[in-house]
Amino acid sequence: MDPRILQEFRAITDDRGLITSPEQLKTYECDGLTNFRVVPDAVLLPTSTEQVQAIVRVCHRAGIPFVARGSGTGLSGGALPVKSGVVISTARMNRILEVDLPNARVVVEPGVINSEVTERVAPLGFFYAPDPSSQSVCSIGGNVAENAGGAHCLKYGFTTTHVLGLEVVLPDGSLAHLGDKTLDAPGYDLTGVFVGSEGTLGIATKIILRIVKRPECIHTLLAAFGSTIEAGAAVSDIIGAGMLPAAIEMMDNLAIQAAEAAVHANYPNCGGLLLVELDGPIAEVEALMREVDAICRRCGAKEIKVAQTDAERALVWKGRKAAFAAVGRISPNYIVQDGVIPRTALPRLMNEIERLGVEAGIRVANVFHAGDGNLHPLVLYDRRIEGQEHAAEVLANRILELCIEAGGSITGEHGVGEEKKMMMSKMYAEPDLETMQRVRCAFDPKQLANPTKVFPRPRLCGEVPGKYEPHPLEVAGIAERF
């Protein structure tokens, strides 16, 4: 990198805020998805919005691509550096700026850790609802970029549900305030567009969050079934009975074994484990829990346990949240997949995944947010066995194709990033992607903010899009969009 540019960067941050030594830069070469690695030219650690603006202005002037990074826990390569680019880390922007309880708002800087928000407001009876499994280390800025989910989105929604407003540094270094502490600010819902845009539209420097009152009680039920198919039937019946649990999670036998080996969560050893959490007023939850219990028994549950204390409940969740990492105990290497299907396609997909696994000689452990059809198949392999890594990748991709064929999505919460950008053309038609690219051009005409991510190929912002021609099948009324 041009030493004069580095000099400029150093003047903006200070020595602590600029990393250029090769060994330190290596720390930033990847995020939670480690099979892609690019060493950035420099890493910047600004401490204020003004510093972020100044850095981005330099990048804009000199045409240097930049990638914003929170804690680097993302699983799709969203924070993977771009060649000849810089990484802008928000790690030093980690203050909770404002806590407004009567209005249930919290204003934070992007480097604040997800669970710190809940820790700060918990003594006052509130919590911050989005709870990705990495919540003890991931940052709110990263959550905003990825529209992070978690186990409780079934009832409480995603990051986008809880972000009311943003201060963002646009890719030309200018500042814009999207949304507000109040609802329905006049104009386009650019907050809604920015959340989940994976760092391609700018850098959030302040985030207005909505916090939620902690319910009167939380009850967590564990039900052991012979198979995930039986457990899946119970999920359908629970939803069909008109209930909206806070969470419904499912694990298959392989995932249970892994979680047990790692955290001894006292899970029953069974073919399909269901975890159902209800929250709300005590009388309401108790009445509904009896219904859930009856449904599970009717669907063949062999054993039902209810977490009685906060400690028991914490242990149940610890096992679930540790499941990805725990798989490392039963396999040297694994791919964490993230796909979504309409919930009713679950039994069919489970059978298909099992069949494909047997065919390829590869084990797949399944952990999923069963309530909303978000699957996390963990494809297990051993890199030392020739051809197995490739076979695992093929299988992981095939699972995504099955999700698309079932009318679902290639990602429910991990993002597209670098990993799945080629899959985007399988999920969306060219005009769909073209329209999203136009929105990108509105924010970032020079394509400097996390370029090369999300979309299968770059598009110059001056390009005039081709005229829309309806697909012949569409004209014939054979195929429908979606």
């Binding site: 209005n103 009876g125 939803i239 509105a442």
Partner: protein, 437 residues
Amino acid sequence: MTPLPSATGTQPGTAGVWDELRTIGSSEQWRDAGPEDTVAGMQPRMVFEPENEIELAAALRCADSGRLSVIPRGSGSKDAWGNPPVQADLILSTARLNRIIEHAWADLTVSVEAGCPFSTLQNLLAQHGQRIAVDPLWPEQATVGGILSTNDSGTLRIRYGALRDLIIGVTIALPDGTLASSGGKVVKNVAGYDLPKLVTGALGTLGVITRAVFRLHPLPHNVRSFTFVTRDAADANRLVLAAQDSKLAHTGLQVRFNSGARPEVDIRFDGTDAGLVAQTETLRKLAPPATEAQANDDVWHGRQHLFGAATPTAQDSQPAAIAKFSVLPASIASTCERLHNLAEPLNVHWSAVVQGTGLGWIRLGPANANAIQQLLQTLRSQLEAAEESFVVQYRSPGMPEIEAWGDPGDALPLMLSVKQQLDPKKTLNPGRFVGGI
């Protein structure tokens, strides 16, 4: 046939465009626009009702290349919202795009065309004990596309969120004829940009919504409402905050104000019998000094009553206006006290329905038009100074013009840039949205 008088910018030489347009669809889908088709005083020239989204996109592209302006319309129930268009040539009606494409009841989703009336949709969903958890104005007339474009939300929002939180997929037609989809039919999906949110509340200025997919919620089994007469605005605000700060799981919470009268707080629960009994007990402990009054489910239509004569079919004979404001929940009382203090010396009668979310609707008048105008302007400047917002949604005939939206803040250049990318010729609803968009 005699061409109707037109206040549009239709220039000589556009006849060819109209001829080309009329080759799309069949002749019974086209008609001359009449007085009932005026948009905020502007007389468009033609109305087209496409049979499908491909016809809609083709007409839009043709109008765009011929420099005609296009007004997308559902039932027209909220046609008066926003600023008057600077030009209005073609009304693109979604009246025939009214199919319910798929109710995947076991997956709790529905895919529907934009022109479907909201109650038609809800009635179908109710057969499986489900609903879209939103209660918009005039559900019998209002269409899915219109409700989305105006971001109309009611009393259920405090529990279920706004339309942005319920829409999971959308297809839009862009002025260049592109039909683009985003999102899909699963609730959890982070692939690509969230265009459903971008077009929700965009007043049809970026593209025409042709279909949408929503997540559904189960219909409640038991519903119970309560009304409390409070001492004053401060007491009403206290009760709202106390309910929000409690362990109650209400699905509606609002305050109704009527000039100087004592404000009333309404709260609604649903759930099991046991749950309702317990919540009732908790609520009654929170309420005093407010006193319980006879409950009446009709209070939840309070916002629609506010529009009163200003329904799609009737007009006020006296000057009146309706505005939507957005403040923080803790500022409900101070906002309404501010309004009261401004209204009293001007002798303007006012009433308001304010949700526990801080979103409120006020009706001013009947009163002197200038007094109402002055009140609207003063209140807007006071609220905007406090970073709150104020949108004028309705003016009766006889009221002078007033900017509908107020100040969009420093994101306006970005909004203009998004508009430029998707509708560079300003074909769609020109001038009706914020900042002249």
